[in-house]
Symmetry: C2
């Protein structure tokens, strides 16, 4: 079922995910003063947002998408792992989104949800939760009939892939917004941010390719 | 070959493409003072960039991707149209990229190619040209053997879809960079920019879905 090229693509997806994670930590810890949700320093509160939206949301969701095919276990176990990864992504995503609202409150109530990044991000997160609920009700509990599951599956897979790309767009617009806001030009920090963005984009492309090469059963 | 749902998806793709085009023109003509390559006003020169990178590059490439399946004609004619759309995309893309370098020169040589947007954009454009050249040499002239074409086709299709997403990421990061740079918050112009970004993203998702639903022959 799972062929050689698919597993090589999956390894590359993991690699780009881990590289993105390392670079985002270098950026936040070395250049941006660290991250802490309960800090009095508004910037440290803000920094929880990019970390959790990538590691908590995008990375977990991407790994969860691939887990359905990469984990060697009974079908039921793989479904459960797939569902759990996405549930973790939702929980950590909520904390990540709360962090940026908290940051805006700390910065004398600077306005919320005006940028393209926030519009793409909030649309993605809302549709992601909806996709999880429909997936849970169709494939987990109460499990739908075989015919219904077969009819829903292609939409579940296509919807998941579309949401992955939306999440990647949210991530790169977020990095772009922050970098422009910081008025960075040619310097080390910009390069760290840009490589983070490129690796997140490559993570998305390789997760998608890994999914495309896999075969699905419900 | 081309089924009902595929053609409905294609119509939606055209629709989102045209909506993006209208909104980008509203933005550039109404809020940003118009566009002109040979202007003495640096902002009018800059405005050629977003217009041509969307209408000239992304829209043409997306329509070219779908044309292989939507145009009702002999296979050779469809291949020729597909190739020509992408060639137009490359030519207009070059003018669009030149416009932003010219703008930087006019703005007292402000630095080039430092932002995530420029990194994603230039990577996308370079790989797009490479993809076009490989496609031309494999499928057009000198046409490769049937076996080689059959081997290259899945890579050509997957590569094209990946490049489409890279181009969408370039577009949304570009809009995000410009909006942050203009320090827009809650106002009409922001909403026009955000809806442009969302419609470009939807154009990408629906072009991709249209391609996914189609069947390929080389």
């Amino acid at each position: 079922m799972y062929q050689g090229s698919a597993s090589r693509v999956t390894i590359l997806a993991h690699l780009f995910g881990i590289l993105s994670l390392i670079l985002i930590l270098v950026w936040l810890l070395h250049y941006q003063g660290g991250l802490e949700y309960d800090s009095n320093d508004a910037n440290r509160v803000f920094n929880v947002h990019p970390f959790l939206m990538f590691f908590g949301f995008i990375f977990m969701a991407g790994e969860g998408m691939m887990a359905f095919n990469t984990v060697e276990a009974e079908r039921k176990v793989r479904k459960f792992i797939h569902m759990t990864f996405h549930l973790i992504a939702i929980c950590l995503g909520i904390v990540g989104i709360k962090a940026v609202f908290k940051f805006h409150d700390m910065m004398n109530n600077s306005p919320d949800v005006y940028s393209l990044h926030s519009w793409i991000g909030i649309s993605t997160f809302t549709l992601f939760c909806l996709q999880w609920l429909i997936g849970f009700a169709s494939f987990m509990f109460p499990q739908a009939s075989v015919q219904t599951r077969a009819r829903i599956l292609p939409w579940h897979v296509s919807g998941g892939r579309a949401l992955l790309y939306m999440a990647i767009c949210a991530a790169v617009t977020g990095l772009m917004e922050k970098a422009t806001f910081l008025q960075l030009q040619h310097n080390h920090q910009t390069r760290v941010i840009n490589f983070t963005g490129l690796f997140i984009l490559l993570f998305g492309l390789f997760v998608d390719l890994s999914i495309a090469l896999a075969r699905y059963r419900f």
